[in-house]
């Protein structure tokens, strides 16, 4: 026989009230958990979208440009005092303090050349980094291996008759609509070689239609293109992938700027930032709603406990009369509250997770997962217990202050 025995037995006796309190706390905690998990999952989804986003920092040569117009008619744009990027700048980027946060550095030289006699945009790239960066590229064929291997954009491959539709694929797809995009499964390469600036190069693969500028471009090894264009060691742009959910992008940009003072460094994150801000707003809203629901739960605990104290006046009086200290009365009531709150917290956490999981598809674009976070479980139980304890302090104090002689006068 301990004080906890009395508390447990009392709980067993008052199952209905205990369940009522438990569900009150559980609803509060469940709402908080559902909202917090939901906003956490949205945040994670944004993080993974950022990670898939590709290059998020673009380094371009610094130049001062002047737009000239006369009477509202654009005459010409003039660039002057232009600084070229070079291979050495790639090494410079690799030296910044946050270099470990950089997942890909993809240098490029862009120019024009003749592909089978057609004037075409050519990009010299480092294929190993470029293909890691452009995760959305889908290739027919293989990634380039030798220095003379090239990748053709979809439109240019069609223009030089390097591809042809796979028989039967057109029947399966709606080829007639203007929005149809050819997939790698629908085309096959029919030409082995192509002439770039008068030199033979092997067509290693064709990039499936993206609808972007790469459809009209040829991609070759950076060194080859630098030689072809006569711009040895020069670069047009360096794309850097660093933006992930926890990356300090602004700091990385600042460090690159410091390392390459002659270059323009800019972060592409506006659209993502807008969404992140929306999620932040949702998180704040979740916190406010959770706080309100918890406050209602706390009020419910308070009124129920006050009612319980009145209802148990006689019982408390008897306990005081037979030698229970005030602290024993408080402890006995608090044990009950802690058990109820902890159970409500666990129940609320489970219910909140379930509700969050069911609601998740309505808030995300799909693919988002709701993680089982132990920290959230601990938080839920701690908040539940905190709410229960705080809202029971006054009723428990009041119970302990009951005059035993008054209480047993109910006899």
């Amino acid at each position: 026989m301990r004080i906890s025995t009395i508390a447990l037995a009392s709980l067993r006796r008052r199952k209905g009230k205990a369940l009522f309190l438990m569900s009150g706390i559980g609803i509060g905690i469940g709402t908080a958990v559902a909202l917090l998990s939901l906003s956490g999952s949205l945040r994670d989804e944004i993080g993974s979208q950022l990670d898939r986003f590709g290059a998020n920092i673009v380094v371009t040569p610094h130049s001062d440009s002047l737009a000239l117009d006369y009477g509202g008619i654009s005459v010409a744009g003039v660039s002057f005092d232009q600084h070229q990027l070079s291979d050495a700048d790639v090494a410079g980027i690799s030296r910044i303090r946050y270099r470990k946060r950089l997942s890909v550095i993809a240098p490029k030289l862009i120019g024009t050349t003749e592909v089978d006699g057609r004037k075409t945009l050519i990009a010299g790239v480092d294929f190993s980094s470029e293909l890691r960066l452009k995760k959305w590229w889908r290739l027919t064929g293989r990634p380039p291996e030798s220095p003379t291997d090239v990748l053709l954009g979809y439109e240019i491959a069609r223009a030089v008759s390097a591809i042809q539709a796979v028989p039967g694929s057109l029947a399966k797809t709606d080829r007639g609509t203007p929005h149809h995009v050819a997939t790698p499964e629908e085309i096959r390469i029919t030409k082995q070689k192509v002439s770039l600036g008068g030199r033979e190069h092997r067509i290693s693969g064709v990039i499936a239609q993206t609808g972007g500028p790469e459809d009209r471009m040829v991609f070759a090894q950076l060194g080859q293109v630098q030689g072809l264009l006569g711009r040895s060691g020069q670069l047009s742009v360096i794309e850097v992938s660093a933006l992930c959910k926890d990356c300090p992008v602004e700091d990385i940009v600042a460090q690159i700027k410091q390392e390459l003072p002659h270059a323009n460094v800019s972060a592409i994150q506006q659209s993502v930032r807008a969404r992140a801000e929306a999620v932040d707003r949702l998180s704040r809203f979740s916190l406010v709603v959770s706080a309100v629901v918890l406050a209602i739960g706390a009020l419910m605990v308070f009124t129920t406990m006050m009612g319980a104290v009145v209802e148990r006046t006689k019982e408390i009086g008897v306990l005081r009369a037979i030698g229970f200290r005030k602290t024993h009365i408080i402890r006995s009531l608090m044990i009950e509250v802690v058990i109820i709150s902890a159970a409500g917290g666990v129940g609320g956490w489970l219910a909140g997770l379930l509700a969050g999981r069911l609601a998740l598809p309505y808030f995300t674009e799909g693919g988002a997962q709701m993680e089982l976070r132990l920290s959230l479980a601990v938080f839920a139980v701690a908040v539940a217990m905190g709410t229960g304890i705080i809202s029971s302090i006054y009723p428990a104090l009041r119970a302990s202050r009951l005059d035993p002689s008054e209480a047993v006068r109910y006899v």
Binding site: T5, A9, V318, I322, F324, P404, S405, V411
Partner: protein, 240 residues
């Protein structure tokens, strides 16, 4: 040497509406010797319950002192007085006030819940007092599974479990039929024969007469001389 000394104890309650003090006890003095069985009689509103709660260390008198075992009870702090009650006093309430959610042995062990004692020892003492009142075989029953007399005996067992030097009983037979009331009084007399000091408030003159001494109270004043003696307990003598 008296075990309990009530010394000029007065109690005045303040009327909540008018704020005027209403005297309930007026300079009550009496003594109770160790092993004595004293009963207190008086009409409703005479101050019986107030005197009992003052003796029970839970109702601070407006004036006077209460000494039990030479301890000035009301000089103790509130929490120390709770400890005092736990060590010195056993209460038997009129309606027993058993915890309905605790079984018989748990109810009997209730005063031990706060004491630093092993669970085994608590259980042993619980069973011992249940045996003393003839309820050992019903240790697992809830109060509502016991008869009125058994509930009364269980309330006595709870009052005895901490081995208190003084048992205070507030009309322990007040709600019981004659037969069950007699059953309870037998237990009290048996306990007193074994040396238990008992102070009992009652309306029942027959039960009061079973005590060594009967005190009468009227309008907050004791009418009976402290050295008066009462009945001889003849009603139960053959059974004891």
């Amino acid at each position: 040497m008296a075990f309990v000394v009530v010394e000029n104890v007065s109690k005045t309650y303040s009327d909540q509406e008018s704020g005027i003090g209403v005297p309930v006890l007026r300079a009550v003095s009496t003594e109770i010797a160790e092993g004595e069985f004293v009963s207190l009689m008086g009409p409703s509103g005479s101050g019986k319950s107030t005197l009992l709660t003052i003796l029970g260390a839970m109702n601070h008198p407006s004036q006077g002192r209460l000494l039990i075992d030479d301890i000035d009870v009301y000089a103790l702090s509130d929490e120390r007085r709770a400890d005092f009650r736990s060590q010195y006093l056993g209460f038997v309430f009129q309606q027993h006030h058993l915890m309905p959610y605790l079984n018989a042995i748990e109810n009997a062990m209730l005063p031990l819940a706060t004491l630093p004692m092993s669970s085994l020892e608590k259980r042993r003492r619980g069973l011992e007092v249940l045996e003393k009142v003839g309820l050992a075989e019903k240790a697992k029953r809830l109060p509502n599974q016991l008869s009125g007399g058994e509930q009364g005996r269980l309330a006595i067992a709870r009052a005895l479990v901490n081995d208190p030097p003084l048992v205070l009983a507030d009309e322990p037979t007040g709600t019981l039929d004659t037969k069950t009331g007699d059953e309870i009084m037998r237990v009290f007399l048996d306990l007193n024969r074994r040396g238990q000091t008992i102070f009992m408030v009652t309306h029942n003159p027959e039960n009061a007469s079973l005590a060594h001494r009967v005190l009468h109270i009227r309008d907050g004043e004791l009418e009976f001389a402290p050295d008066s003696t009462a009945g001889t307990a003849s009603r139960f003598s053959p059974a004891l």
